[in-house]
């Protein structure tokens, strides 16, 4: 689905990632860990075409990211749900329109899809909050709304960047369970986090591989949880 082949990424002359080869297999569940500033977010951005490698090649759904125009990247992103720690929304639109935004931009905003929206909001526990504006939401609600938005297109891959960074332990457990449930539905999931407690908690729920970025390179932590 997404492959990195001898990828390096430098920013301002400093190497952030070096000689990384990795393949994200369909239906897999990965944790990506490493200290702050180690390049986890950069790694995810390379995976969804927001950044291009300075060396090597990233293949997204069998297309080289270097050969993909901006529109091709946009189409690929409709198959990749991305959840950020600082989930950004369009603050002037109510929550249900924000969650349905991927449908609108892809021209798939049909009544059937909007029925799915209600189901999805119920699944992430946001029933009754559809008319709220994003600034009115709590941190946990924003994270769940970001997850719902990432899922509305039923993407093949879900990339979550510190999805539990701004929420309490109980809410991070809830988000983890949602992501595990998605993986069991066949979705490929990768979570970037430096929260080892979250990774340990996942042990009871899912078979996941842990990857660590250390010294600019990607290492398998060697632990199948």
């Amino acid at each position: 689905m997404i492959e990195l082949d001898n990828v390096a990424y430098s920013y301002g002359g400093d190497a952030l990632l070096n000689d990384i080869s990795f393949s994200l297999a369909p239906g897999s569940f990965h944790f990506l860990t490493g200290p702050s500033g180690s390049g986890k977010t950069t790694f995810l951005k390379l995976c969804y075409g927001a950044l291009l490698p300075t060396e090597g090649d990233v293949r997204i759904f069998d297309h080289s990211a270097k050969d993909m125009g901006r529109d091709a990247v946009a189409y690929a992103r409709r198959r990749i749900g991305v959840v950020h720690q600082d989930c950004k929304f369009l603050d002037h639109l109510p929550l249900n329109e924000n969650i349905a935004l991927p449908l609108s931009v892809s021209g798939q905003a049909t009544p059937d899809q909007f029925a799915n929206l209600q189901e999805l909001m119920s699944w992430v526990g946001l029933v009754g909050r559809g008319e709220a504006l994003p600034p009115e939401l709590s941190g946990g609600e924003r994270q769940r709304a970001a997850l719902a938005r990432a899922l509305i297109m039923s993407p093949d891959v879900i990339l979550a960047d510190e999805p539990t960074g701004n929420v309490d332990w109980e809410m991070s457990q809830r988000l983890l369970r949602l992501l595990v449930e998605l993986n069991k539905m066949g979705k490929t999931v990768m979570i970037a986090t430096h929260d080892m407690a979250l990774i340990r908690a996942a042990k009871a729920l899912v078979s996941a591989r842990v990857l660590r970025i250390s010294n600019n390179t990607l290492q398998s932590a060697g632990v199948d949880l």
């Binding site: 991305v82 369009l90 609108s104």
Partner: protein
Amino acid sequence: MKRILEFLSPLLHADAGADRVVPPSGFTVRLTVFTSAAMAFLTVFALALSLASGRLGQSWGDELARSSTIRISAPAGQMAAQTEAALKVLTQTPGVASARALSDEEQQALLEPWFGPGLPIDQLPVPQLIDISETAEGYDSDGLRLRLQAEAPGAVLDEHARWRKPLVAAAGRLKLLGWVSILLITATTGAMVTLAANASLAANAQVIEVLRLVGATDGYIASAFVRRYTLRVLVGAAVGTVAGFVAILLMPGGSDAGGFLTGLRFQGWHWLWPAVVPPLAAMVAFAATQAAARRVLGELA
């Protein structure tokens, strides 16, 4: 054709979702609409000025191109004889189609704008005027002057060309100035829309980031801005054009007494010209916003 349709797609495919993704910005909206209205109003006036100048230049050219005048200044006792002699010379001159001496009433009518009605012309030493119409080939003015000098020494030939040419040239320049003004107004509208669109795109960098994250293409993002600015400018230009149209309509109609200043109104099918202004302004806004959006989106990539 496909490229043209692709270029115009932001306008052709109204997408309520795309229209809503950019936050409303009340003050900018009002400024854009007002500026477009003002520009359209000025365009209508420049158009009227240019068309009126064109008509005036043509009129001066047509009316005066084949006419000239002889002015006879002579003592009262010799006036009739010199007039008679001049007319005789003219009838024998090749290239003169017709020539006639103006009556006292006609000369009085010519002087009336300056001296008012009831001028006792017979009591004033007013020169006698002879109106000459030329054939298409024209006459030899130097030869005619020599003969007039011999037969009617008080006669002075005025070919009109001396003062007609600069007037026609001035009218032509005024017409050109009108069109240059329209071009400048059009360019200014484009610059204004580009500045406003650039500011709006820069202010909405986070909106663009969110849209890209969820898979929006550049075309979709651009269309949200392009439609908004095109429609604003179209509405503003329509208001300005109507105001300009009404203002031109309220101008006094053309008359011989008023001359150029009262001839600014459109004439005939020229009244349709202002209808071109709003679509033209919208096209300029469309192209300017499209270019600005593509450039900013490229920079933000």
